[in-house]
């Protein structure tokens, strides 16, 4: 009996992992389409975050698309706000707004602003885009949750370039001091920032030691391995005395071979031909030699 149950749990996990992988693939394709249509945006950091965003929005986050301001929802703060299109893609798929609206990204009057705007778009928890500020807002939310005795959690995704910002460490210090176990940081360590590799601009290593020194539980994963992502998101829920950081080792531009780890693709939209090539690769229909 017990063995049978274990088998079915393993099967369920496998099915979940498969489903989320497929969602991540769809998010990446939608992301490329949106950026191409908008004619500007940030492919690199959206693609590196896609797997984690899929796991959060299609599995982990306790949210209600038909009631975005539900008081007991989990909060997700995208501190690296320039990567918001990958979140828009998830919100639309969940029904927060019609999918047609995705193609209005960055247009005058669209709620889908170039950077997240919580006033214009329900489902966005915090307006961001100036790097280094998101974790402070997430800490404030987590303290509020504690004051209210609520059980919702706050997730905050940050960039590795962004980790150069002093305010981020001020927030980390406060969260550690207060033992905010309802706060989960996610570091999308994709190795590249705007102008160059993080290591060459201003190295943030040893970053694990830094977070630990600030009183955080740290779990390192391959951020493109869905099983590891799920394990990490489950594990952080078992930590009860401190905030947790998922250090997600990723590849900037993941999924489009010729964008990967190339700073050129930090903040430039693909043109129609490039988008078609990118999508073919993501769909697994690319014909060889097309890189």
């Amino acid at each position: 009996m017990e063995a049978a149950q274990q088998v079915s749990e393993v099967e369920d996990r496998r099915a979940l992992v498969e489903r989320l992988r497929e969602e991540a693939r769809r998010l990446r394709i939608t992301d490329i389409r949106m950026l191409e249509k908008a004619g500007s945006g940030h492919p690199g950091g959206t693609l590196s975050a896609a797997d984690m965003i899929a796991a959060l929005y299609f599995h982990k986050l306790r949210i209600r698309p038909d009631d975005p301001m539900w008081a007991d929802r989990d909060r997700f703060v995208l501190s690296k706000g320039h990567c918001i299109p990958i979140v828009y893609a998830a919100l639309a798929r969940l029904g927060f707004f019609p999918e047609e609206q995705l193609m209005t990204l960055r247009e005058l009057g669209s709620p889908l602003q170039g950077h997240p705007d919580r006033v214009r778009l329900p489902g966005i928890e915090a307006s961001t885009g100036s790097l280094g500020q998101g974790l402070s807002i997430a800490v404030g939310m987590a303290i509020a949750g504690r004051l209210d005795g609520a059980d919702w959690r706050v997730y905050c995704m940050m960039g590795d370039g962004e980790s150069q910002a002093g305010q981020l460490w001020e927030a980390a210090m406060l969260a550690g001091k207060r033992g905010l176990s309802n706060l989960v940081g996610i570091l999308d360590q994709n190795l590249v920032q705007q102008s160059d590799l993080v290591e060459r601009i201003l190295d943030i290593e040893p970053v694990v030691a830094k977070w630990r020194a600030f009183g955080w539980h740290v779990r390192e994963i391959d951020g493109h391995d869905m099983e590891q992502i799920l394990d990490a998101l489950d594990e952080v829920e078992t930590v009860t005395d401190r905030p947790a950081l998922v250090l997600s080792h990723t590849v900037k531009g993941k999924g489009v071979s010729w964008m990967e780890l190339d700073p050129e693709w930090h903040g430039k939209a693909p043109d129609a031909e490039q988008a078609a090539r990118a999508i073919a690769e993501l769909e697994g229909t690319a014909t060889g030699g097309g890189a």
């Binding site: 320039h82 885009g129 790097l131 920032q193």
Partner: protein, 308 residues
Amino acid sequence: MAKATREAFGEALVRVGGDPRIVVLDGDLMKSNFTYLFRERYPDRFVECGIAESNMIGVASGLALAGKIAWASSFACFLSGRLETIRMSVGYQAANVRLAGTHAGVGIGDDGASQMALEDVAAMRALPNMTVIQPGDAVETERCVEYLVEHEGPVYLRLTRQKLDDVNPPDYRFELGKAVVLREGSDVALLGTGATVQEALKAADELAGEGVEARVINVHTLKPIDHETILAAARECGRLVTVEDHNVFGGLGSAVAEVLAANGSGAPLTVLGATDYGQSGKSEELYDAYGISAKHVAEAARALAKGS
């Protein structure tokens, strides 16, 4: 030839860069603010600070206090966002720091509000010893950067992402604090700064077709502001329109209003500028949506003419 003032800035820095006192600081935006040109030429005097603008500003101050001419550059919003750091580490110390804020205003377009400085002039103007300059084209930017080599004291230079038409002649000479009359006229005065100078010029063309002769004034120095030229315009034209890619709470319009009011001028003034935080869109679309394109300048001038 149309050029973004951020690009002219980066090129001018290289040209003056032979001066060993000059040190350039960047916050992971060297390709956007064109300081990569200086880095290529003078790598030893380029300090990459990463995404950490408060620290960059403080380091610039230290360099200046130790005898360097420190140029710190980032998007205008990320500099003015560190107002108290600038107040304490730059202004109050009278440090010889130049802050170059690129990507000013709604003119940046698609990226939207979070990257749009629309209050930076107000913030910088509020610091007592801060000089605030906003060039209207490439040649003005170049002459200004050259002038600033020998200037003493803190300076804020506001630059555009988008290309600007040439509004000045090639032999243009930059004079700090002296607004430039680009076009004579005595029916109405149109005052622009930075990217809106070209809008004022286009509006004047439009008005000329209707028999209205507009005086166009390029207010490149927002602080100290040119009292004489503004008061002469009020006297001789009777009415004024200011236009800025900045909000109306403390920028060019406010500075002009202060001059008029303090000198007892009752000349009617219309202030064109943003009244919110900005949003995504195409640059030209946003100039229309925020009422700061040539069309709106001309309209404001007509309305003023009717009212008197």
